[in-house]
Subunit: 161 residues, 2 copies
């Protein structure tokens, strides 16, 4: 399996999981958090599923495509280890969906990062809120959900509080 194959599986799974998540939490109140903006393709997709005013993007520095750049007041700039606890103070446990595709090239580093960031994510979710991630996360209190049709096992994960 080539890196192109793996990448396609990851992108297709991400879309399938986000589409599925939107059907589950679309009617809930609460913000949507996108951890990492990158090129902004996934943010653009989230905007097709949710109101862009409900989506907050956590990123160190915005470098997205012009078509996929969030409004300034919906960007939380900084290191997620600092900005997520700040968001908890601001929003409380209200997020209906948190999405993260934080993974870089190094699978081992991604896994370390996932272990470290997991405890900062859990308290942000509303009861019934979902976390969709391209990496396996390490949550104590969240339930791992079955993947929707079209998602490839191991390429995306869904957790529910």
């Amino acid at each position: 399996m080539s890196r192109l194959d793996l990448f396609i599986n990851r992108m297709v799974s991400q879309r399938a999981c986000l589409d599925h998540a939107a059907t589950l939490v679309g009617d809930m109140p609460g913000p949507v958090f996108e951890l990492g903006l990158g090129n902004g393709r996934t943010y653009h997709h989230l905007c097709s599923l949710f109101s862009h005013r409900d989506i907050y993007v956590f990123e160190r520095a915005v470098a997205s495509h012009p078509d996929s750049t969030p409004p300034e007041d919906r960007v939380v700039l900084g290191n997620v280890f600092e900005t997520l606890p700040q968001a908890l103070e601001q929003f409380g446990p209200t997020a209906r969906l948190i999405h993260a595709d934080l993974g870089g090239h190094n699978a081992e580093k991604n896994d370390v990062f996932a272990r470290e960031i997991s405890p900062a994510i859990t308290p942000l979710l509303a009861p019934g809120g979902l976390m969709v991630s391209s990496d396996r996360m390490y949550f104590q209190d969240l339930e791992e959900m079955p993947l929707p049709e079209g998602a490839v096992p191991g390429r995306c994960f869904i957790y529910r509080r």
Copy 2:
């Protein structure tokens, strides 16, 4: 249709066209030219279809994933408007496959680039050789081929000399 949808269609179409091209020119002699390396995912896929010693990568500067970095003697560094004519002197009309995913964010600029670079690509192809591109190209003497199953019209193009 979101930018994520468009991107998935482009990647899936690229893979379908390259897999199809490999069945058509896999037994031909001659080099394979990859125009633009980027992250190296597509180069990695080409390596699964062809011998990596047959693949020459044309790029300004190598910045690919470590798993997808070509051997130094298979990288042609520089501006393609200079390196493609040099390759014609070195290889003659021998390429069995040329792949390009040169497109940036700006569709208009991509189209101008495709018009400008097309005449430099044609003479490199062997008779029966194929060009697979994510952008519509402007060839005088190449035949546009039907897309294989799984490719999305407009997201990838196949041309034959």
